[in-house]
């Protein structure tokens, strides 16, 4: 039977965005795809379309001009998605931290799952990050697949069920 789950597990695709980096980390990502390191053997493919992507690789500090695109791209990637910040710039702003046109790390705008240090991040580190991301991706995927409970868990407040509080507030409302 056709199973989406299986494909997602085996081949998460990558989207790469340069949010204002110096190209150092970008060419290291390219080097990762080259035969010496060959990231593609883990089933990841570098694609250009956010709608097909599962893993989002971001390099560079966020500049004022690129933040809009960053968020647009992030929101266009379907759930579940994993974000990797490549290079110290993307993690914290790096050497560009608090320059006037720079908004430091990308985690100010989008949630980051894996941080990759280094300036420039070496291909080995990027590969490690992607492998971790694949794990996180699988975990997120499982969470998404599991059945959701819609009722709220009862919360204890001062040794009593909160539910009674809710009932009380409802009663207050009625009055």
């Amino acid at each position: 039977m056709f199973s989406f789950k299986w494909f997602k597990k085996k081949s998460p695709w990558i989207l790469h965005y340069n949010a204002g980096s110096c190209n150092g980390c970008d060419i290291e990502i390219l080097a990762c795809l080259s035969p010496k390191y060959d990231l593609e053997r883990f089933g990841v493919i570098n694609c250009g379309n956010p709608k097909q992507a599962d893993i989002f690789l971001v390099t560079g500090p966020v500049t004022y001009r690129s933040r809009e695109r960053l968020i647009q791209l992030y929101t266009q990637i379907p759930e579940p998605k994993v974000v990797i910040a490549v290079g110290s710039c993307a993690c914290t702003g790096g050497i560009f931290r608090s320059m006037y046109n720079v908004e430091d790390g990308i985690d100010r705008y989008i949630p980051v799952d894996v941080y990759t240090p280094g300036c420039a991040s070496s291909p080995e580190l990027i590969m490690d990050a992607v492998i971790q991301a694949v794990d996180i991706f699988e975990h997120k995927n499982q969470q998404l697949q599991s059945a959701k409970k819609l009722y709220r868990q009862p919360v204890f407040e001062q040794g009593r069920f909160c539910v009674s509080n809710v009932a009380k507030s409802l009663k207050d409302k009625d009055e």
């Binding site: 980096s21 110096c22 695109r69 560009f96």
Partner: protein
């Protein structure tokens, strides 16, 4: 029937990792007008150089303007400071600096060629060139300790020495690469898909190159003999066998040829440096604070890079101005796109090898 359409390319595009936005005004398939927007990666490096960092830390800051020609940036800046402080450097330092800058040129040109192949739809060649580029990265790592962004140059010298083992390994790597490049030249001239696709595409004539002030490989592919390496004598290019490479057709094909032949020339120069490295210290004492102004030009992989620095005997500089190769080339880029088929736009763009990080700083 004529129909005008506007097609945007960028800021995020598969053909080019860098954020640049072009807007093509097309008539059917032909591009008529082009406008570009390059400000996506503006970070404010120039401002930071005069307000956040002291002058002796700036070599490492300006290296981060661009990851591909980092060494050229830090070298150009260092030279301006050394000129102001009147430091005389020994031969060994000069040779080591030239070595790194030429290695950088080799790997940058190879990356560009790989991109051009990828945009021709020749994925296997892309992978091949990327694989053959790796030994150069390894060599850079051996010499400087990092693959990219090696903070190798400091004011008054370089930060690491090279050992006889590295020298031997380097010569091996360069000899192997030379064979490969000769094969690539053959391939780029005779392979059906590469030469057919690229002959006559994206032509920049000599007149256009002159009037739009093209520089670097873009100009040399049109037959315009401009190269900073031949014009200034800060680095020992005349002693290590520099030759200018010229082509005359000005299309994508010619640009590829210029790059390939320049790689050959750079390999020869690096071999000469490895073989005839003079003895000496790698770091010289530098005293004082920069005072006055100074201007340095260097040939980056993409063309002329210019640094203007003004200091007034304080640790903080007064002005740092960076003029980068791609910025000067943009008018020429625009001209090339006109009257081309839209489908060729990514390939032409890749053949310019633009560096938007430099341009926007």
């Amino acid at each position: 029937m004529k129909k005008n359409i506007q097609i945007p390319l960028g800021s995020q595009h598969i053909a080019l990792v860098e954020p640049v936005k072009f807007r093509f005004e097309c008539e059917n398939e032909r591009i008529k007008e082009v406008s570009s927007d390059v400000g996506f990666v503006h970070r404010g490096v120039e401002q930071a150089c005069v307000s956040k960092f002291k002058f002796d830390a700036i070599p490492y800051v300006v290296a981060r303007v661009c990851g591909l020609c980092a060494i050229t940036h830090s070298l150009a800046y260092t030279q301006t400071i050394e000129e102001m402080l009147e430091v005389e450097l020994n031969d060994k330092i000069q040779y080591l600096r030239t070595l790194m800058i030429e290695l950088d040129r080799i790997h940058s040109h190879m990356l560009c060629l790989a991109h051009v192949c990828e945009n021709a739809g020749f994925e296997a060649m892309f992978m091949d060139i990327m694989a053959k580029r790796e030994p150069i990265m390894t060599l850079q790592e051996l010499i400087s300790g990092n693959r990219i962004q090696f903070d190798y140059i400091s004011i008054g010298g370089v930060n690491r020495d090279i050992t006889p083992e590295i020298q031997k390994r380097g010569l091996e790597i360069l000899a192997a690469l030379k064979e490969e490049i000769l094969l690539y030249i053959h391939e780029f001239q005779n392979n059906w898909s590469l030469s057919l696709k690229y002959k006559g595409v994206g032509v920049l004539t000599l007149d256009e190159a002159m009037s739009y002030n093209a520089i670097g490989p873009l100009a040399r592919a049109s037959g315009l003999a401009t190269d900073v390496r031949a014009e200034t004598s800060r680095l020992p290019y005349d002693k290590i066998g520099y030759e200018m490479v010229l082509e005359h057709t000005g299309d994508v094909f010619a640009r590829n040829q210029v790059r390939l032949k320049e790689i050959l020339n750079s390999i020869a120069m690096c071999e000469n440096i490895f073989e005839g490295l003079p003895q000496g210290e790698i770091q010289q004492k530098v005293k004082g604070k920069p005072n006055g102004e100074s201007l340095v030009r260097l040939e980056a992989p993409r063309g002329e890079l210019m640094y203007y620095v003004k200091g007034n005997a304080k640790p903080m500089l007064e002005r740092v101005r960076i003029k980068t190769p791609t910025f000067s080339c943009i008018p020429a880029f625009m001209e090339v796109f006109k009257e081309e088929v839209y489908a060729d736009a990514p390939a032409i763009l890749a053949s310019f090898d633009p560096c938007l990080s430099c341009t926007a700083k």
